[in-house]
């Protein structure tokens, strides 16, 4: 019995939310606060609103081309040659991001949590986990996201909710920050935009929705759920630690996790559990990148050898991950790619929308 390979709207929303919550949840509050100071929550909101516009653009394109992926309609709108060129670029960026995010993950593990774990193993293990997934089945991808989502959310809430008792409201004030310039404020917003910009996965999943025309509501919900947790995290971290203290920490969320005490002394520290759930979060995010890459490459070459592609991608991503010298190097690369890709996505999506309007291209219905 062949199961229909389709994704429900709830799964669709969860794919987006699960992709947004990734590697960065450990260090994100510090990044934003580094740039925007006390205005971090406000900058986050601004960043999210700008991302939201990009999301709407993507959803609009998805609705207009209900049975084509990002790759597919780029080709339709821009023509085969130019569309393919841009898409190859896009997929290369995705591959580089896989490598860099994996490296970031491995660095976090080695630096803060599991100093004895060899970095090569962490990188390889994470990439291996992604590459053995059966990408020929979009529903399996959706099931995986669906299954892990509660395992990511619940530990996050267990860490965040008890922190309410440690909140000092003066840490949050003034919400516009201490005399920060607009550039600083906006670079804080861009950090958030980069962190949540992986909602791009939706453009690869829309054609597999049960009803692709109804992608807008679940898409927005998924985005809102994901960004809500990001905002929540940034705000709580700032409110608990304050600007000065947080800049001294590398992984502020982990410090929050260490502050949680479990009654009954089953484990001395809850952070082991939190690390495992964070590994789940990293895995689902990387899986989404991997999904974009593997399905994208397969679509450009119009083949169905997903397994082959994912195993070829594994060593390449592995070497990309080993390329930066240290964590600071990783972040300097990531910053470039994040900012670049955010700009690219943004400009490109609206470019596509305009061209689609002008050339009157529309996806076939059915």
């Amino acid at each position: 019995m062949k199961h229909s390979d389709s994704v429900t709207s709830v799964q669709f929303a969860i794919i987006i939310a699960g992709t947004i919550l990734g590697v960065s949840i450990l260090a994100l509050p510090r990044f934003v606060i580094e740039e925007a100071g006390n205005a971090a929550p406000l900058a986050s909101v601004v960043g999210m609103i700008i991302s939201f516009i990009g999301l709407l653009g993507l959803l609009y394109l998805g609705k207009r081309f209900p049975n084509q992926t990002f790759i597919g309609y780029s080709k339709t709108i821009l023509g085969k040659l130019f569309g393919n060129f841009i898409m190859v670029l896009f997929l290369l960026v995705a591959l580089v991001l896989i490598g860099l995010e994996t490296r970031q993950f491995a660095e976090v593990l080695v630096g803060g949590l599991l100093p004895d774990t060899p970095i090569h193993f962490s990188i390889f293990a994470m990439l291996f986990l992604c590459s053995v997934i059966n990408f020929s089945n979009v529903s399996t991808f959706a099931y995986i996201h669906f299954f892990y989502f509660p395992l990511i959310i619940i530990p996050l809430l267990i860490v965040l909710l008890p922190s309410f008792k440690d909140i000092e409201y003066y840490h949050l004030l003034p919400i516009t920050g201490h005399e920060i310039s607009l550039t600083e404020f906006m670079s804080g917003a861009i950090v958030i935009m980069a962190a949540v910009s992986n909602y791009y996965i939706l453009s690869m999943v829309i054609p597999y929705l049960k009803n692709p025309k109804k992608c807008v509501t679940p898409g927005i919900w998924g985005f809102l759920i994901g960004t809500f947790f990001v905002l929540f995290l940034v705000t709580i971290s700032l409110a608990v630690f304050g600007e000065m203290k947080i800049l001294e920490m590398l992984w502020s969320t982990l410090v929050l996790a260490r502050m949680v005490e479990v009654p009954g002394e089953i484990l001395a520290r809850i952070d082991a559990i939190f690390i495992i759930s964070w590994i789940f979060a990293v895995f689902t995010t990387l899986l989404s990148y991997y999904f974009i890459f593997v399905r994208g490459v397969a679509e450009i070459f119009s083949t169905k050898k997903y397994r082959l592609i994912s195993f070829i991608a594994l060593p390449i991503a592995f070497f990309i991950a080993l390329f930066p010298r240290d964590i600071f190097d990783v972040y300097s690369y990531l910053r470039v790619f994040w900012t670049g890709s955010v700009m690219f996505y943004f400009v490109y999506v609206f470019f596509l929308m305009v061209i689609a309007k002008v050339r009157r291209k529309k996806g076939s219905v059915g």
């Binding site: 019995m1 799964q11 986990l129 399996t140 959706a142 001395a268 690390i275």
Partner: protein, 536 residues
């Protein structure tokens, strides 16, 4: 694409068939002759001097006749009373029209219920081996076949592998006819279908596909039948053969088809829209498709009250998770992350390990292997020496090893917990696969610490999420989530909440429970005002 990677199309794939029996091919188109002597000779040539091969010659109304059968397979008394006696008693039979003799015998003389006429030799040879009796007559080119099979049966008793405290105590036995009867009497409806096929060129094992035709999904049914028909093997000795041939992923450690000895469980699953497969000679029925959920549920869950059952199911899940991860978590915490140990335990954990010659990883791995050896020994061993084994197991492996400083007491506790956890899983084969998966997890945890453990768990989970049994996701209804089916997964909601059959199986007929009894009950005797409003 290079031809190296090219996939063979279906027609290019070499067709493999098993050679047929030579005797059968030889007699494929042959018919029996009118000469009784040569007919008997022919059968004698095939069965030679087999111990149980019987040729009984006698006269029917003055004509010679012969009865052939394998005595080990037929009911002797039945043959004597219903076949030989009425035939021999006929002294004045009208034997003028030879061709009508078999019909006369069948219609007027024989008492036996199951009588057939047959001319083809290969069919007759086959029938003898299947426990039928044939009667040959001089001058008649047709044989009469009687089904007088007698099977050695054991009594129906409580299934050894699936005991219940509350619920029916009968279990399947080896004979398929008895098993079918056990199902039939629980499902006295005309929609209950039992379709028979044969698998195994030599054993010719009867395989019955059972389903409720107005509930079971047609695509599922067709898939099950196609897969069974495609099996090519010489012998099927147990339902396990069928299971391995028709499962979706032979590389998976998890069973994708459920087996059970309990008729009530089979009927419960048929009512949910699943398909059951009975195999002659096996006391286990197969149920497809199977989801992970079914492996920690028992039929008893539905007989007891829901609140208690739900609690017990939760405990079983916990036990399953324990059995899989407890020992590996212990290894990783003790060897890589001692900071996770609560301060109260540090002394206990480290003082117990004083003098233990191995690292925790090796210690746990050795103990787990010892535990598996003990378990395996307990199953294989004759029952008379069981006492000796438990003494060896408990005293030597437990007490003495600790006293000798070979293992730490805490390790023994951990191993015991994880082993007992796996025994709490109702399904033996699922529990075994989880126990075996413990070993790679311990190795991962012992070499790469917490990350290794997490990676191992994610690998197992991803495999389970991606696995499908006859197209049904293995982890459903947890992933992909379905609210109505989740009422009967980790918890078992009250029966009147389970209004729909499980959605993931896609049954034709969806509704199974009506309204609440409470709404219809007229009296509420226990309430203070006696239920009905008091008139006085």
């Amino acid at each position: 694409m290079s031809p190296f990677f090219r996939k063979r199309t279906k027609s290019e794939q070499p067709k493999q068939t098993i050679p047929k029996s030579e005797i059968m091919i030889e007699n494929e188109d042959k018919r029996i002759t009118s000469n009784l002597k040569s007919n008997i000779e022919h059968f004698h040539k095939i069965f030679k001097n087999d111990m149980d091969f019987l040729i009984r010659e006698f006269h029917v109304g003055g004509k010679s006749a012969a009865l052939l059968c394998l005595t080990s397979l037929v009911e002797r008394e039945e043959v004597e009373r219903d076949i030989i006696q009425p035939l021999q008693e006929q002294t004045n039979l009208n034997m003028t029209i030879i061709s009508s003799i078999p019909t006369i015998l069948e219609k007027d003389i024989l008492y036996h219920a199951d009588v057939q006429k047959e001319k083809n030799l290969s069919t007759l040879i086959q029938s003898i081996t299947l426990g039928k009796v044939i009667v040959l007559l001089e001058g008649v080119e047709e044989a009469i076949l009687f089904d007088a099979i007698r099977q050695e049966k054991r009594a129906i008793d409580q299934p050894e592998t699936e005991r219940v405290v509350r619920g029916p105590k009968d279990g399947f036995i080896e004979q398929i006819s008895t098993n079918v009867a056990l199902l039939r009497y629980r499902l006295p409806v005309p929609e209950f279908r039992i379709e028979k096929t044969e698998v195994g060129t030599r054993t010719r094992t009867k395989v019955a596909v059972c389903f409720l035709e107005d509930i079971a999904n047609d695509t599922l049914l067709k898939e099950v039948k196609t897969r069974i028909d495609a099996i090519q093997i010489d012998g099927v000795l147990d339902a396990g053969y069928i299971e391995q041939f028709i499962q979706d992923n032979p590389w998976s450690p998890f069973p994708q088809i459920q087996n059970t000895e309990r008729p009530d469980k089979v009927v419960g699953n048929l009512l949910e829209g699943r398909v059951a497969i009975l195999v002659e000679g096996s006391p286990f029925a197969l149920i497809a498709p199977a989801t992970f959920n079914q492996f920690y549920q028992t039929s008893e869950d539905y007989y007891d009250r829901w609140l208690i059952t739900s609690a017990i199911r939760t405990i079983r899940i916990l036990a399953l998770i324990f059995s899989l991860t407890f020992s590996s978590f212990y290894v990783t915490v003790l060897s890589f992350h001692p900071e996770l140990i609560p301060s109260g335990f540090v002394v206990a954990a480290s003082s117990g390990r004083h003098g233990v010659p191995f690292p925790v990883f090796v210690e746990v791995l050795l103990m787990e292997i010892a535990m598996e050896i003990l378990r395996e020994a307990t199953i294989r061993m004759p029952q008379q020496v069981g006492g000796a084994l438990s003494i060896v197991g408990v005293l030597v492996v437990g007490q003495a090893a600790v006293q000798a400083g070979f293992v730490s007491p805490i390790t023994v506790v951990i191993i015991a917990l994880s082993t007992i956890g796996s025994f709490a899983t109702p399904s033996y084969n699922a529990a075994t696969s989880f126990r075996m998966l413990r070993f790679p997890l311990i190795i991962l945890a012992g070499t790469f610490g917490l990350l290794g453990l997490a990676v191992g768990i994610v690998l197992i989970l991803n495999h389970m999420i991606g696995l499908r049994s006859f197209g049904v996701p293995f982890m459903s209804p947890i992933s992909p989530g379905d609210a109505s089916s989740n009422k009967d997964s980790i918890i078992r909601a009250p029966l009147n909440w389970l209004k729909a059959r499980p959605k993931e199986i896609n049954p034709k007929n969806k509704k199974r429970v009506g309204g609440r009894v409470k709404d219809k009950a007229e009296h509420n005797f226990l309430s203070k005002d006696g239920g009905k409003p008091d008139e006085t």
